[in-house]
């Protein structure tokens, strides 16, 4: 199980690097799609079929198509000097590296003791729905407001006239 997980993680990493170092925007978008699929596989491994499929539906069916659509619409092609390393970005990257090491170190030094909350792991849609509409009712409502804001915002920015 561990090997399978890490092989999958390796693929995630490869696709993630493919996204951030890619030269062709469209290829990067596809790499991102494959990355999302590996994450969906992780959800399947953990036993949560529901989340895995939702992940594929939302990302593959919606988000990546949207990104690809905009890439074609804007006519973005290969841009050879798309990234260059200036002094500022270099220091940023070094700081980020130290930050990452710090986070890993901090997490490794502490004892994270997980206590099982239930006798078994409930991955059914019914279980998730119960939690969503009882304990997480208010976040759910706020998320709906957030979606509405997002829709109106995207509409306002993307439409032609003022």
């Amino acid at each position: 199980m561990k090997t399978v997980f890490y092989i999958n993680a390796l693929f995630s990493l490869i696709f993630a690097l493919g996204v951030i170092f890619g030269k062709n925007p469209l290829r990067s978008a596809l790499s991102l799609l494959l990355f999302f699929l590996t994450i969906a596989l992780d959800f399947f491994f953990a036993g949560s079929e529901y989340l895995g499929f939702v992940q594929i539906i939302v990302y593959a069916g919606g988000i990546i198509v949207m990104i690809a659509f905009v890439i074609i619409l804007l006519g973005l092609k290969k841009e050879s000097p798309d990234y260059d390393i200036t002094v500022r970005s270099f220091t940023g990257i070094i700081l980020l590296g130290f930050f990452a090491l710090g986070v890993l170190y901090g997490l490794a030094k502490s004892v994270l003791h997980l206590i099982p909350k239930a006798p078994y792991f409930d991955t059914s849609a019914a279980g998730i729905g119960d939690a969503l509409f009882s304990k997480y009712l208010l976040p759910f409502e706020v998320a709906s407001i957030l979606l509405l804001v997002g829709v109106v915002l995207a509409f306002i920015f993307a439409k032609k006239e003022v």
């Binding site: 990493l13 996204v19 930050f99 994270l112 239930a118 998730i128 997480y136 829709v151």
Partner: protein, 100 residues
């Protein structure tokens, strides 16, 4: 034996790969995609947490984070279209007209 720490390790690494992309790229579309990487790697921690503490709640959080991610992309792409219309480029480093 696969444990929670493996999930945590992978998710931290992927998160910072995404953050690297945000800092490193100049094209707005790439930055958007890197933001998606960051949000998704967070989901990986949550699914590990759900699995190893037999808890339903992190799964709900994953669903809601999906909502946030979708909104972020939609808004970001709308912004990109607007920028292309107004400034004819989506290269964020070329936006320097606001410098006092």
């Amino acid at each position: 034996m696969l444990g929670f720490n493996d999930y945590l390790l992978v998710s931290v690494i992927l998160f910072f790969v995404g953050a690297l992309g945000v800092l490193f790229r100049r094209n707005l579309i790439y930055i958007l995609m890197s933001l998606e990487l960051m949000l998704n790697s967070i989901n990986l921690t949550l699914i590990g947490l759900a699995k190893y503490s037999n808890d339903t709640n992190p799964q709900v959080l994953i669903l809601l984070i999906l909502v946030v991610a979708a909104v972020e992309v939609a808004v970001g792409l709308g912004l990109a279209i607007n920028l292309m219309r107004v400034k004819k480029t989506v290269d964020v480093d070329l936006f320097k007209s606001l410098k006092g």
